[in-house]
Symmetry: C2
Subunit: 181 residues, 2 copies
Amino acid sequence: MKKFEEKTISSEVIYDGKVVHLKVDDVVLPDGKTAKREIIDHPGAVAIIPITKDNKIVFVEQYRKPLEKSLIEIPAGKLEVGEDPEETAIRELEEETGYTTKDLSFVTSFYTSPGFANERMYIYITDTLELVDQPIAGDEDEFISIRKLTLEEAKQLVEQEEIHDAKTNYAILYLHALGMK
Amino acid sequence: MKKFEEKTISSEVIYDGKVVHLKVDDVVLPDGKTAKREIIDHPGAVAIIPITKDNKIVFVEQYRKPLEKSLIEIPAGKLEVGEDPEETAIRELEEETGYTTKDLSFVTSFYTSPGFANERMYIYITDTLELVDQPIAGDEDEFISIRKLTLEEAKQLVEQEEIHDAKTNYAILYLHALGMK
């Protein structure tokens, strides 16, 4: 849908970093006036809900510099250019948890913050996990620990705001709605 | 929690815009190495799930320049500095839909994209809406139309990716889990 379309007059790249690519567009609004739109260009991301044979969810804990605290999240990572989201999901699962899977199901996708960013998050689920003997290494600036939790334990961590991000809160509500015990 | 804390050595402001504030921090990692962290500083945002007396959800449709398409979303807006999230919710509800309420319930909050942004989204729900005679005006560069939909209609729009953002997908799953018909 293109309702209320804003046509671009000019676009300026402000910053071209490792994760964040910022541009500012001048646009024409539906009433003919002009405005500036600040936009974060993002390759997209993938998250995976890994369920173990004994019915626990595999989370990763990591420090999130923008929040100045660590969060417990489902495994996730950025799409590489041209990569299929399922490939990304399987790669990130192995890098972050040491598990792999041959059987992913798509749960949903959503834009995380459509007002200023085009980051699209794809979420998958699997309950057929296999341990990898020598898992591929993750990024060298990522420090991660694994937490295996029941859904009830995870819900308590939502209350305590140790689980506190869009994809993970969605995942927990999704498992709750599925009737997971 | 401060597990795997990354200590800031220096911080540089790259861009200070209307919505996006970008800084790049040099940090010391837990292993003593250094890394750069690109961070979007955001005041936080609020969204509200408005339910009418005839059991419809009030959505707003607007063009999202970062996606180059329009989305159907629950009403939402940025926190002003020092503003209480409930105040923001009531203001944005009136600006975007012409309704007000005296009775908000907190649903959840989450960080939308904790890898690169500190935007925290607060979600509220109300089923006691009153039409305002002369609602306060919204931002002059916002073009919005209202859509009142049943939960079933909203679920179809999720399938069609016309509803396609974190807060709104969460809201629909939340209403589904509550057993709304």
